[in-house]
């Protein structure tokens, strides 16, 4: 069976607002750059096209209909994966390894600045019977013994009320962070260090939008949003698009490209029952185990040189590090305090700046992570280049309220 290689990468800049371009324009820019990077003509050389997108983020039902023109897929096999970009890499991997396709394009993007009601879309992903009503209009506990809504004035239907007190769905991260801190003896200051580290790394990344020179004190003094989660613990949203081109090994050699292999990937979904599933990122653990097996990695701590870990919230980087076996349970904070996770440390994490530094690019997050790994493996990371990188790991989570995630492992040939 052929191995699967990355032959092209392309991306736009990442910006908190992009009023000057539409979603098609950013997809076109990223894909055009990736195709130029691979020196291929999409209308002749690419056999299959994949986009990773979620209708609700985009604001279209059946978003796949709005895809082919700008990625070069008109009258070609093209499909849309409703999920993070790493799922697209996995789909492409299967198409190439089965021999069905030779060259596959994978695109993911965020145009979240077009979405005016981000929290409401996210709330729409909660279970409609058990969880949404509780996250909807707040009915405060009432100690008078009288019903809050007497029969003559019944409780309005959810969403049809003029009550303004509702919770943003990020409260779920507050719940999970509380649990994580308690279970691992990690402190809020440790989490603050993640924000400081990643926003500092972002200074070295020309496409990052949220670089900042801040201290632990800044983070600690930022306002509580969902205690213990503070404003600076949260990655802000960003617009941007990324495209990858994968190919079989034969074509890669013919193009004279030094192969970087997609050597392993895995994916996993937990149950949507928020109150039943664990808060230990089991999805990350299982998807990493699958990817390690495929890539032949026995001891991830020793064999993986760098990793981009989902850090949509600061504590998530620590939690995911432990889940995927790059740290033992409760050990992530120790590595952080020692400086091991810095660009110059023994296992650099989120050298790109991560979602905290680059911005949360929704379904493009997995590709943004993979982009950094491939850039590092190619030795093109400029000021943030880490020496002697041979094996890198990208991990993403499908964000609140999901228990779904994926892992990709890249190896230099």
């Amino acid at each position: 069976m052929t191995r699967v290689c990355v032959i092209g990468i392309g991306h736009t800049d990442f910006n908190c607002m992009t009023p000057d371009v539409n979603w098609k324009d950013i997809m076109y820019e990223a894909c055009q750059k990736a195709y130029a990077d691979a020196s291929i003509d999409p209308r002749k050389d690419i056999t299959s096209f994949i986009t990773c997108a979620e209708d609700y983020w985009e604001g279209f039902s059946i978003f796949d209909e709005f895809v082919p023109d700008q990625i070069g897929a008109v009258l070609r096999p093209c499909c849309t994966v409703c999920g993070d970009g790493i799922y697209g890499l996995g789909t492409a991997y299967m198409q190439i390894q089965s021999g069905l396709m030779d060259v596959v394009s994978i695109e993911a993007h965020s145009k979240v600045s077009d979405l005016l009601t981000y929290g409401d879309v996210m709330l729409h992903a909660f279970d409609p019977i058990y969880d949404r009503p509780v996250s909807g209009p707040v009915e405060r506990p009432n100690y008078s013994g009288l019903p809050s809504y007497p029969p003559e004035n019944p409780k309005p239907l959810a969403g049809k009320t003029d009550e303004t007190e509702r919770v943003h769905p990020y409260f779920l991260a507050g719940l999970e962070m509380q649990h994580y801190l308690r279970n691992t003896n990690t402190t809020e200051e440790d989490c603050a260090m993640i924000a400081v580290k990643n926003k500092k790394n972002a200074f070295l990344n020309p496409y990052a939008d949220y670089e900042a020179n801040i201290t632990v004190d800044h983070v600690m003094k930022s306002e509580y949003c969902f205690k213990p989660l503070k404003k600076l613990d949260i990655s802000p949203n960003v617009d941007g698009a990324i495209c990858f081109v994968l190919a079989n090994e034969k074509i890669t050699r013919e193009l004279g490209i030094e192969p970087i292999y997609l050597s392993g990937f895995g994916w996993c979904s937990e149950t949507p029952w928020l109150s039943t599933r664990g808060m230990e990122a089991e999805y990350a653990k299982k998807s990493a185990a699958m990817a390690y097996k495929m890539a032949g990695i026995v001891n991830p701590r020793k064999e993986i040189n760098i990793a981009e870990i989902d850090d949509r919230f600061t504590y998530k980087e620590l939690q995911h590090l432990e889940a995927i076996g790059l740290a033992r349970k409760g050990e992530a904070k120790e590595l952080l305090r020692e400086g091991a996770l810095e660009i110059k440390g023994s296992i650099p994490i989120n050298s790109s700046g991560g979602s905290l530094g680059v911005g949360n690019s929704l379904e493009a997050t997995g590709l943004q992570k993979s982009l950094e790994i491939v850039t590092q493996l190619r030795g093109h990371a400029g000021k943030r280049q880490i020496p002697d990188v041979k094996v890198g790991l990208a991990q993403s989570w499908r964000e609140i309220p999901s228990g779904s995630g994926a892992v990709a492992i890249f190896t230099r040939g």
């Binding site: 539409n22 999409p42 008109v74 409401d120 879309v121 729409h124």
Partner: protein, 179 residues
């Protein structure tokens, strides 16, 4: 599956369900949960469509060339989907064209009857090529018995002060005799 050495797979014998009527929901015969999302978007439309919509505001239909594919494209876009190259050179087109296909619509989006049916279809705009090249719009000043494929039509514009840079700045297309 009869053989005993095979693993058994079972399946339901009669999966047909029970009829459910909308009145059952209205009358709360069925226990159900209700949710009305508050979801809003404001799309940035990008350089090509912005210029096109600005043209409509001025009462003009604009097109753009792909010189490589020899296309004059409307509605315009910033790249050509056939050769994947950028488009170039804006042109003002006529506001006349030919009906490419149409339908006579008797239902609103919630499937309620409309007494006076709506005529809707695709117009190939004069000057744009290759055919068919154009957009979808309403038809007016013609009856449902008159409309036919190949019919010549012309845009009826809103008064200038009511135009807002939208496809609906054209009210509808009407029959058109001369050139």
């Amino acid at each position: 599956m009869e053989k005993s050495n095979k693993k058994e797979i079972t399946y339901p014998k009669n999966p047909a369900g029970t009829h459910l009527r909308s009145s059952d929901i209205r009358n709360k015969v069925i226990t159900h949960s209700w949710w009305e999302p508050e979801i809003q978007y404001a799309w940035s439309i990008g350089p090509a469509m912005s210029k096109f919509l600005h043209g409509l505001k001025e009462g003009k239909i604009l097109g753009i060339h792909c010189h490589k594919c020899k296309r004059l494209i409307t509605p315009p876009r910033s790249f050509c989907e056939y050769c994947y190259g950028p488009t170039d050179t804006w042109v003002e087109l006529k506001d006349t064209g030919t009906i490419n296909t149409y339908s006579i619509s008797y239902l609103d989006p919630n499937a309620n009857r409309i007494e006076d049916p709506i005529l809707i279809g695709v117009i190939s705009i004069d000057g744009a090529y290759p055919k068919p090249m154009g957009f979808m719009h309403y038809f007016g000043e013609m009856s449902k018995d008159e409309i036919k494929i190949g019919m010549r039509v012309k845009a009826v514009w809103k008064p200038e002060n009511e135009r807002e840079g939208a496809i609906t700045d054209i009210k509808y297309f009407k029959p058109y005799g001369g050139d």
